[in-house]
Structures are given as structure tokens and as C-alpha cells.
Amino acid sequence: MIQTLFGSPEAKPGLLERFQKAVQSTRSSLVSRVEDLVRGKTEIDAKLLEELEETLIAGDVGVGTAQEVLEAVRGQVSRGQLQEPSRLKSAVKAELLNILKQTADGLPRTVVPPVVILVVGVNGTGKTTTIGKLAFQLRAEGKTVLLCAGDTFRAAATEQLEIWGERTGCEVVKQRPGADPSAVLFDALTSAKARQFDYIIADTAGRLHTKVNLMAELEKMRRTSQRIIPGSPHEVLLVLDATTGQNGLQQARQFTGSAGITGIVLTKLDGTAKGGGVIAIARELKLPIRYVGVGEQKEDLLPFDPEQFIESLFS
């Protein structure tokens, strides 16, 4: 039955082979080619700039941002401020660093506890895991943390958070599957307030930023938080997957609109993806990158280091 439902695919192998070869050749030689060019040449030329553009694009910086950054550097070249090809790369790096440093202040204000942290993002980026890692860090600093199982939609999302609660010694406030997330948050907030927790970290269901009613649900959670604890949520973290390409910017825009993002966590940087999309986000929305996720264990959350991040784009 099924078998007959499906037709058969098959593209010309020749075509695919050519593509495979093309991709392979870049992979092995792109970086070294840039290095060679930088060392070997004495004049900055278009070819060199093109290679740099490709490096940036390969890191998901995006063609628009890449071109603007290179335009700025090209300007330096034509003004004679930059003649040595060997300094070209560092000029590009400086330009990128500049963008990352012009984001909003990364330090949370001093607030009366509990500090409310809302964690949001599209599906499967690593929200729940990041919450576990954050809770672990805060616990290590001797803070009390209450976790809120605000994902009442996905199968076993609450159970997943509960395991993180066990691992980090944090209590979890939950309701039954399908409950209103704002109601769970309400419970957690009142409880955290009454029992004087230092932090409350709320998980939310993954949602695509294009789904209007799901985004409205986040707005409602925000309002609930504000009502119970004025001035909260103090931090709204957008969890971005480093493997994500140009869609990341769109995610950041939409989530900022609905949830009032205050910072970004860039996960899965332990893979081969560079996560360069955050540069466009930092440039346009001035959102600071607070942490990077580098694994699935509780220790695998690091503070964001812009220099190191930029460096990794070129390695």
C-alpha cells in the first residue's frame, strides 16, 4: 500500500557528485587559503576580500552583514589606513567585535529577590537544558532556585525539567499537561515570593515566532509575572541554536516584540556551527549574548566571550 504511494526520486549522480566535490574542497582549504593569501600577498585585492566574505558567510554571519563589514574595511583600505594584507583579517575582526560590544549592558540590575528569569525560544534550541545548567550555576553560588514547568504542551517536558531539578537540587512547580502556562507561572511566582527564593527560572514550550497565538501566550506570561512581582521578569533569555542560519534574526525580532528579550543564550557551540547569526542580531537589536552552551551536561554553560567567539569564526 505505502510502497505504491511513493514514486521514485533519483537525481543525476553527476550533478550531485559535482556539488559534493565542490563543498568538500572548500571545507578542507578555505581557511588555509585565506591564511596563504594573507601571508603571501602584498596587496589587498578583491579576491582576498571575497575569500573573507566567504569565511563570514560560512560562519552564518549572513551575506548582508558580511558585505557591510567588508565595506567598512574596504573603506579603510581605500583611505590608505590599511595596506598590509596581513592586517586585513584583524581589521575585519575588530569591526565584528565592535558590533558585539555595542550591545546593551550585560549586567542585571540589583533587584529584590526573587529574580525572575523567563526562558523562551523556538522548538528544540535547548531551553530546558539551559535552565538546568543555569540552575546548577546558581546553586553553586549558594542561591535558592525554584523551577517553573511552563511547557505544558510538549510530551514529557515537565518530566525533563524535573530530572534537571533533581540533578541540581531545585524544586519544580508544575501542573498537569495542557494547563495554562500562565497559571503554572502564577503558582511558581507566589510560591517563590512567599518562601523567599532567590531565583525563579521559568521554562516555556518551544514555539515558532510565526505563530501568533503562541506568541500571545508569552505576552500573557509576561503580564502575569509583572502583576505578581512588579518589575519582573528581570531577565528574558532567548535561547538560539548555533546551527541556525539566517532565520535567527527573525526569531530575535519576533521574540523581542512579544517577550521583551533581554539577552541571548547561544547553544550547541560544541558542534561545528559558528553561530555567526548573532552578529546581525547584536547589530540590529543590541541584544547582549549572555551565555553559550557547549554540551549537554550541567557544567556546559559558559559566559560569552566576544573575542574568543570572533576568533572561532576564522578557525
Binding site: 500500500m1 505505502i2 510502497q3 511513493f6 514514486g7 521514485s8 526520486p9 533519483e10 537525481a11 543525476k12 549522480p13 550533478l15 550531485l16 557528485e17 559535482r18 556539488f19 559534493q20 565542490a22 563543498v23 574542497s25 572548500t26 571545507r27 566567504e54 558567510i57 560562519g59 552564518d60 549572513g62 551575506v63 523556538v122 522548538n123 528544540g124 534550541t125 535547548g126 538546568g132 510538549r154 510530551a155 514529557a156 517536558a157 518530566e159 525533563q160 524535573e162 530530572i163 534537571w164 515558532l208 515566532h209 510565526t210 541554536d241 546551527t243 542560519g245 539566517q246 532565520n247 535567527g248 527573525q250 550547541k268 560544541d270 558542534g271 561545528t272 556551527a273 559558528k274 549537554e296
Partner: protein, 460 residues
């Protein structure tokens, strides 16, 4: 509108305006006979941007544009397309070819249970897709059994158990501390016992560079001999897609791809990257979090999504639908042979009109890029309708040999087309002028003459 007493108010103005627009869309009339480096440059630049913004791997983009450039060079511009449209069409065809056939076959084992693996990076949608596939298979009359061999992620196996319950398929729970291989083997035995003909194995998310976990998958494959190893990939994936997909394929010989989260607004260029490096077909797409949100992959939809030029593509498709290639070629030949008859002219108008109201056709063009200067409003189809009516009222013989059109024939035509004899005369006069012009010029200029003809055809 102009003065009263006019039979067809404003027709001259309207028709001039219209034909100018008409001419811009169908640049057949403009006189670019061949695709050249120059007339392709702008549209190719835009296509490059579009593909990169869609997250197609830059090297794949490069290769693709190279292919397109070679294919395009020196190609004759077809009657029904502008050079830019034609390049877009060639790019589209290339993407379609690269993305493969419309649907993909799932491979079942000669002796059940067939084993299908769901593999991929963390969070790509494997567990959810396992639930969707279970439902899909059930609807096709199969009896799937689900098993999770994700012994790592917190509550991963509980998640699949909930999924199975929601979908209404059995799930093999197994010992809580079992190894993945043992879980899978036990599940297969269970499938045999229960008479399940497909075993869906949900594996843990893992990085392609995680040697230990990749080796685990290889062992799992060797022991289970799955007939399908599906690579589940997130449609939002960027440039890195080539690396993970290629490595999974290299290690496991993946048999196909499921592209998830296509319900968002990501352009999904990863589809192209993955297909390019693995050569494996995209068998399904995920379009939501619900278990019904699994669809067969449609290369045509994916192509227009990736190119983001859906409107241009629609236009091209419409044109393709209606334009009989042979007729277009005949027309071309007639141009060159200086035998452009009224019959040919009518055919061209018909083809244009069959694409829908001209205003609608023009509205399909994007307002950026090569089409930005094409006006999109205020297009009146009426003038064109009247020209066609006049031509329709002629006999075939009259259209091929307009010289036989005497006074009484003209009166008959005017009556039959609800126009005036003056209008018929004007059309014929201008047709005549055009023919004379064509005779004195070569094919290229002849086309220009035709456009002038169109631009000044009957007014009041």
C-alpha cells in the same frame, strides 16, 4: 476618460499604456535575442543573494550559479520570457533537478519487521517525527512499534512513551538501564511477537563530531540492519548543514532526509545543501508539532520557498502552462522569415490573455529587482480584448492574407467585433507599416517594430 461621443473612452491612452507594460513583461518584443553575461548579471546577483539568505551553503550556491551560467550562455531568449525570467526559470529547473523527484519510497525489509532509524543532531525533531511516522504508517495499513534508544537525554524515553500513547501505537519500554543496542534488539523481538511489521527506532540526538556516539550508531546499524536510516534535520539550519549531513551519511549511509519545522518562515536552503552533499532524497517534511503534520516532500514548493521568488515562478509556470512551445517557435521563425501574419499576432495576444487578466499577471511580479519598474496598477485589459475581437472576427484566410480585406469585409469585421470600421482600418494600417519596417530590418529590429505596432494599435 475623455470627451463624450467617443465610442471607446480613453482607449488610445489605455492601450498605449497597457502595451508599454505588456512589452516590458514580455520582452520578446524588446529585442534581446540572446542571453549574455551582461543581461544575466543582475538577475544572477540577485539569485546569489536569495540563495545565501535562504541558507544554501555558499559553495553549493557557487556551483549552482556556475551551472546556470553555462546553461544560459548564448541561449536564445524565448518568445515568452524576458532574459531575467528565463534565467530564473533555468535556476528553478536546476533546483528542481537537484532536489530530486516528487516523492520518495520507503524501503521495507523482505521479512518483517522492517527497521527504520531516526537520527540527527540534538533537538532536530526525531522523537516527534517518530510519532508522526508511526501515524503515517498506521494509516497505510502498517503496524509500527516504537522504541527509544535515547538513554542519555533526561526524560527522552518518557517523551516517546507519551508520543506513542497520543498516537495510539505500542511502544517498547525496556529495562531502564539497558544499552541502546540491547534495547533495540529486544524491541525487535517484541515486534516479532506482537506481529508489528515496522520497528521505528528513535535515537538520541548527537553531534556528528562525537566519535563515541557516532560509533554507537554504527554498531546499532550493523546489528539492526535498518532499511531506512532517516536523517532528521531542522529546516532552520544554516551553513553547517553540509557538515552534519555529510558526516551522518558517511558514517551510516543514511537513506533519506526528513526536514522539520517547515511551518516557520525559514527559507530552508539547508534542503539543498543536504541534498547536495548526501545525494539522498528528502522523503518527508514536518510542518508542525502535531502528529498529523507530516507531508511528502514537494521539490517545486521547496524550490520557490528557497528562491523566495514565488511570484516570478508562478508567472513562469503560468506562462509555461499556456504557451505552446511549438507555437512560440513558429512565431519566431515567422519573425525571421518576415511572415508575421495577423494570425501570429492573434496567437500572441491569446497566449498573453490566457495567463489571466493582465493586471493580475503584472501584479505577480516582485517589486524589487529587475521588475521594479514595471507598473502594477491601472492596467486595463479592455483594449487588448478589442484588438483580439477584431482579429477574431476575421476569417483565417483574412488573417493570413490581409490584402483581401476590402470595404465590405471590413464592415463585417467591425460589426462582428462591436468596434468601428475606423478601428479596423487603423489596426490594418499599422500592421502594414510594421510589416514594411520589418522587411527593411533584420529580425532583431523587426521585433522592435512589432512592439511599436502594439503600442500604437487602434485608438479611437
Amino acid at each position: 476618460m475623455r470627451g463624450a461621443g467617443q465610442q471607446h473612452p480613453g482607449s488610445e491612452f489605455v492601450f498605449e499604456n497597457l502595451s508599454e507594460k505588456f512589452q516590458r513583461v514580455f520582452k520578446t518584443l524588446r529585442g534581446e535575442a540572446k542571453l549574455t553575461e551582461e543581461n544575466m548579471a543582475e538577475v544572477l546577483r540577485e539569485i546569489r543573494l536569495a540563495l545565501l539568505e535562504a541558507d544554501v551553503h555558499f559553495q553549493v550556491v557557487k556551483q549552482l550559479l556556475e551551472n546556470v551560467r553555462t546553461k544560459c550562455q548564448g541561449q536564445e531568449v524565448w518568445t515568452s520570457f524576458s532574459p531575467a525570467q528565463q534565467v530564473v526559470k533555468i535556476v528553478r529547473d536546476e533546483l528542481l533537478e537537484l532536489l530530486g523527484g516528487t516523492t520518495a519510497r520507503l524501503k521495507f525489509a523482505p521479512r518483517p519487521p522492517s527497521v527504520f532509524f531516526l537520527t540527527g543532531l540534538q533537538g532536530s525533531g526525531k522523537t516527534t517525527t517518530a510519532g508522526k511516522l508511526a501515524r503515517w504508517l498506521q494509516r497505510g495499513g502498517h503496524h509500527p512499534l516504537l522504541v527509544s534508544v535515547d538513554v542519555y537525554r533526561p526524560a527522552a524515553r518518557e517523551q516517546l512513551a507519551v508520543v506513542a500513547r497520543e498516537v495510539g501505537t505500542p511502544v517498547f519500554a525496556g529495562q531502564s538501564d539497558a544499552r541502546p543496542v540491547d534495547l533495540a534488539l529486544a524491541a525487535r523481538a517484541e515486534a516479532r511477537n506482537k506481529g508489528c511489521d515496522v520497528l521505528l527506532v528513535d535515537t538520541a540526538g548527537r553531534l556528528h563530531i562525537d566519535e563515541e556516539l557516532m560509533a554507537e550508531l554504527v554498531e546499532l546499524r550493523d546489528r539492526m540492519e535498518p532499511t531506512e536510516i532517516l536523517f532528521v534535520a531542522d529546516a532552520m539550519t544554516g551553513q553547517d548543514a553540509v557538515r552534519s549531513a555529510e558526516e551522518f551519511h558517511r558514517r551510516l549511509n543514511t537513506t533519506g532526509v526528513v526536514l522539520t519545522k517547515l511551518d516557520g518562515d525559514a527559507r530552508g536552503g539547508a534542503a539543498l545543501s543536504i541534498r547536495s552533499v548526501t545525494g539522498q532524497p528528502i522523503k518527508f517534511v514536518g510542518t508542525g508539532e502535531k502528529y498529523d503534520n507530516l507531508e511528502l516532500f514537494h521539490p517545486d514548493r521547496m524550490t520557490s520557498r528557497i528562491l523566495g521568488m514565488g511570484d516570478v515562478l508562478t508567472l513562469i509556470e503560468k506562462a509555461e502552462e499556456v504557451i505552446d512551445r511549438q507555437k512560440a517557435e513558429d512565431l519566431e521563425r515567422n519573425f525571421r522569415m518576415d511572415r508575421f501574419s495577423l494570425e501570429d499576432f492573434r496567437e500572441q495576444i491569446r497566449q498573453a490573455r490566457r495567463m489571466g487578466p493582465l493586471s493580475q499577471v503584472l501584479a505577480l511580479l516582485p517589486s524589487v529587482g529587475p521588475f521594479r519598474n514595471v507598473p502594477k496598477q491601472d492596467v486595463d485589459d479592455k483594449a487588448l480584448v478589442r484588438v483580439e475581437a477584431i482579429l477574431n472576427s476575421m476569417t483565417a484566410k483574412e488573417r493570413v492574407r490581409p490584402e483581401i480585406l476590402n470595404g465590405s469585409r471590413r464592415r463585417r469585421i467591425a460589426k462582428g467585433s462591436a468596434t468601428t470600421v475606423q478601428e479596423v482600418n487603423q489596426l490594418l494600417k499599422q500592421y502594414d507599416q510594421m510589416r514594411r519596417m520589418m522587411r527593411s530590418m533584420s529580425g532583431r529590429m523587426g521585433k522592435k517594430a512589432l512592439s511599436q505596432f502594439a503600442a500604437s494599435a487602434p485608438g479611437a
